[in-house]
């Protein structure tokens, strides 16, 4: 069973090809890290997969009707946008919208999902705070909780740990890993290759307008790929505590 299959996806914007012929599929229990240098097309790929951008080729998500899509995949955009001073609880409860029929109020199941998401992200003390008054990191956690409350088999998150302190970065990655262990899956774009290597079950590397590599972290983060697509060298080791990845130097950049 696959949760998402993408084949031959080509995305053009303003007559420029951003990504060409991307194919991959995601099954249950995967935490997929989407990596690549700035401008490699990580956000573009996720938006096209979700059907938010027009693209050639096929995405099983984009092909779904909008309501069904919202029950299949949750999406956390990179922009941490909250337009109105609503409470944290209300913001998180927006994640339940796809599960409510027209005119239906929030029920017991919805309440459980909201409470679960709040507990998962450690937001209980913030429950009644005004979302627009939170710090950047706190807000990021609230928005992740909103995505979790949507309770979908698949979660796509665009740089969910950017701006979080180390403890919350690790906690958040563990949370996504926990989702994967429970049979759900997540695709997260991420710049911290160390966290990606440690927590993701699989990495997809984008570069030069195409999918460069797709596989286990150790297979993707090869010295050649790092030099060619990130312009870095790195120390890479397996230890008792898991994979350890540390960028060391910049190469080939003028």
């Amino acid at each position: 069973m696959t949760l998402l299959s993408v084949s031959g996806l080509t995305i053009q914007r303003r007559k420029r090809t951003i990504l060409r012929d991307v194919s991959f599929s995601v099954g249950p229990g995967e935490l997929v890290g989407l990596i690549g240098a700035n401008g490699a097309g990580k956000t573009t790929l996720m938006r096209a997969v979700l059907g938010l951008l027009p693209a050639e080729g096929d995405s099983s998500l984009a092909a779904l009707p909008q309501k069904a899509r919202a029950q299949q995949a949750a999406w956390m955009p990179q922009a941490r946008e909250v337009a109105w001073p609503v409470s944290v609880e209300r913001l998180i409860s927006l994640g339940r919208l796809p599960h409510l029929a027209a005119g239906q109020a929030i029920g017991a199941a919805d309440r459980a999902a909201i409470d679960g998401a709040i507990a998962d992200m450690g937001l209980e003390p913030f429950r009644h705070r005004t979302a627009t008054n939170l710090s950047g990191g706190e807000l990021a956690r609230v928005l992740i909780a909103r995505t979790l409350a949507q309770d979908t088999p698949l979660v796509l998150a665009d740089e969910p740990i950017a701006g979080l302190d180390p403890a919350h970065q690790i906690q958040t990655m563990r949370l996504f890993a926990g989702l994967a262990q429970a049979g759900r899956s997540a695709i997260v774009s991420i710049h911290d290759l160390g966290l990606a290597a440690r927590h993701c079950t699989r990495l997809i590397l984008l570069g030069e307008g195409r999918l460069v590599a797709d596989g286990a972290p150790g297979d993707v983060l090869t010295p050649d790929n790092l030099t060619d697509h990130f312009n870095i060298t790195a120390h890479f080791a397996r230890s008792e505590a898991g994979l350890i990845f540390q960028p060391l130097d910049v190469v080939g950049m003028d």
Partner: protein
């Protein structure tokens, strides 16, 4: 939430009754109300049924329209400065109405007047949305509104100046400031169907506007069809503002003031704000219309003057608050 709605509904009811019993004829309140229900053969029944009732109904319906349209536009643009009067939608509707009146379209077709105002309002909304962009940044929104208002206002003046009727030119102030004086049941039947349709359309936006709190991308991923939402917003706003402006002229600031005052009471949720603002708008316009009758009973003080006196200072305050975001 429900308590807020009950309080607002009670307020509207009380003001509606007040609008019915207050007027230059100065009859005792109880006589006035009984003359409304029982035709006692005195002229008071005529006054109640043909003058005060239509005026009160229009104040209620138009206030609700402007309040809900303001809440909807603010929710969609995610900007508290949006108001159909300020961003030129009402002026465009007035232009449509004036053209219908002066070309004879209004006289030739039963619903020619409000439909022409609706067309004007649609063009105004589309122009502002196109100029301001989807996120409706304050500065572009206000600039777009100024341009659309100025253009529609100038064209309205031109059409009225070209009219062979010597009174028409002096009515620019009515179209700019609005009034409910001497409206009849004919005007109620003219405006009510479109207002009802528009309110129903705008009310369907509640969920979409809630989801838009998180931005367009997130809203779409929550299953909100943005194309349909935009269509309902444009048509709904144009219908309520068009019908309102066609019979009462341009009344500004209701759509700005009311959602702003009520937002804290609904937990800032744009969806819940829709009906609350409809009730609040009805209360505000009923109160304003009672005020113009009490303060200057024979001078036909324009409603827009009262709403602007309340609304403009608030608008300045909002600009002051959002100026960092605008800079």
């Amino acid at each position: 939430m429900t308590r807020l709605m009950l309080i607002l509904a009670g307020l509207v009811l009380a003001l509606f009754a007040g609008a019915l019993v207050i007027g230059p004829a100065n009859a005792p309140y109880w006589d006035s109300l009984s003359a409304l229900f029982v035709d006692d053969g005195t002229p008071l029944t005529l006054v109640m049924r043909e003058i005060r009732l239509p005026r009160a109904i229009l104040a209620l319906a138009i206030g609700a329209s402007l309040g809900m349209a303001g809440a909807a536009m603010q929710g969609y643009l995610r900007n508290p400065l949006a108001d159909p009067g300020l961003i030129g939608v009402s002026s465009s509707a007035a232009l449509g109405a004036v053209i219908a009146l002066q070309t004879g379209l209004a006289a030739a077709y039963a619903f020619g007047l409000p439909l022409a105002a609706l067309v004007g309002a649609v063009l105004g909304v589309l122009l502002v949305l196109a100029l301001a962009g989807p996120r409706g940044a304050s500065i572009t929104l206000i600039l777009a509104g100024i341009v659309v208002s100025a253009l529609a206002g100038a064209l309205t003046s031109l059409v009225l100046n070209l009219s062979p009727n010597p009174f028409a030119a002096s009515e620019i102030v009515f179209w700019m400031m609005g009034s409910l004086a001497d409206r009849s049941m004919d005007h109620v039947w003219l405006a009510l169907p479109l207002i009802g349709l528009g309110l129903a359309l705008l009310a369907t936006l509640a969920r979409g506007l809630d989801a838009l709190t998180l931005g367009e991308d997130a809203a779409q991923a929550l299953g909100i069809n943005l194309t349909r939402l935009r269509l309902a917003l444009v048509v709904g706003t144009a219908a309520v503002v068009g019908a309102s402006t066609a019979v009462a002229g341009t009344i500004g600031f209701v759509g700005l003031v009311v959602p702003h005052l009520l937002r804290p009471f609904v937990g800032a949720r744009p969806g819940a704000l829709l009906w609350a603002s409809a009730l609040g708008g009805a209360a505000m316009l009923l109160a304003a219309d009672i005020l113009v009758r009490v303060v200057l009973p024979t001078k036909d003080l324009k409603l827009g003057v009262v709403t602007a006196l309340v609304g403009a200072p608030l608008f300045l305050h909002l600009i002051y608050k959002t100026r960092r975001q605008m800079a």
